[in-house]
């Protein structure tokens, strides 16, 4: 686990904590909200780059796959997604005051991607691939036919 990455995720949480405590009475706070969003986008990119290097090292046999390491990385994604939710609420407050949020679309794109990562359960995915390896699977067309003939749906 990269200490730097962990500290970066910690930092996004601390920034969100501070911003939620502040009274929104001037535009400078809005700049801080935008900075938090940008920070989340940057930390996400660094986290992805780290995971790619980690996966490549496992593939090359340089690093052994450790379940705990995977869980720690997933935990960082989960924490970052939670902070993104908080940042989005701050961003919406800015918009209600009439401010334009710089970098909004880029941030939302990262947030959506984070949701796509964090909705998976580590244990369930392992179980799913085991099911497929054991032949507990069926073609999409067959499943669609089965579902369409299900009177319960």
């Amino acid at each position: 686990m990269s200490i730097v990455l962990k500290n970066q995720v910690d930092s996004t949480e601390r920034s969100a904590n501070e911003l939620e405590r502040l009274t929104f009475d001037h535009a400078a706070i809005c700049r801080d909200v935008e900075a938090l969003m940008l920070q989340i986008v940057d930390v996400f990119a660094e986290l992805n780059a780290y995971v790619e290097r980690w996966q490549a090292d496992i593939e090359k046999g340089v690093t052994a796959y450790l379940d705990d390491a995977a869980r720690e990385l997933l935990d960082l994604y989960i924490r970052l997604e939670k902070t993104a939710v908080r940042a989005s609420l701050l961003g919406r407050t800015m918009e209600r005051w009439g401010f334009v949020v710089a970098g909004k679309n880029r941030f939302i794109n990262v947030w959506r991607t984070l949701k796509g990562i964090t909705c998976f359960s580590l244990d369930r995915v392992a179980e799913s691939f085991k099911q497929i390896a054991e032949g507990n699977a069926k073609p999409l067309g067959e499943f669609m036919n089965e579902l369409s003939s299900d009177p319960g749906r």
Binding site: D67, L73, Y77, C119
Partner: protein, 100 residues
């Protein structure tokens, strides 16, 4: 080059748990994925599975935004997509991107 999607048991259960309209939409999207998985998916950064792809799409249904994510691997036979999981979340309050 088109592929054939194979749904694992958990992926099937994920679809069964969806509202009917969302399930229908999901299956149409999976048909699209069969036609061009390279275009529609990206490498998954989900940390513990190398060589996984993720196919994400959204649907607005009955006042909710559904975020649907299919995790899959290319089969070694280069003819099939092995879809392991299709978890989804629904949100009633989503921050919309600005029109560009």
């Amino acid at each position: 080059m088109s592929y054939r999607a194979i749904l694992g048991a958990n992926a099937q259960n994920d679809i069964r748990r969806m509202p009917a309209a969302v399930a229908q939409y999901t299956m149409v999207q999976l048909r699209n994925l069969e036609l061009d998985p390279a275009l529609l998916s990206t490498r998954s950064h989900f940390p513990f599975r190398a060589k996984c792809q993720i196919f994400s799409f959204d649907l607005d249904h009955q006042g909710q935004r559904f975020f649907i994510n299919a995790l899959f691997q290319y089969h070694a036979n280069e003819e099939e997509l092995l879809i392991s999981d299709i978890p989804w979340q629904a949100a009633s309050d989503w921050w919309e991107p600005d029109a560009e």
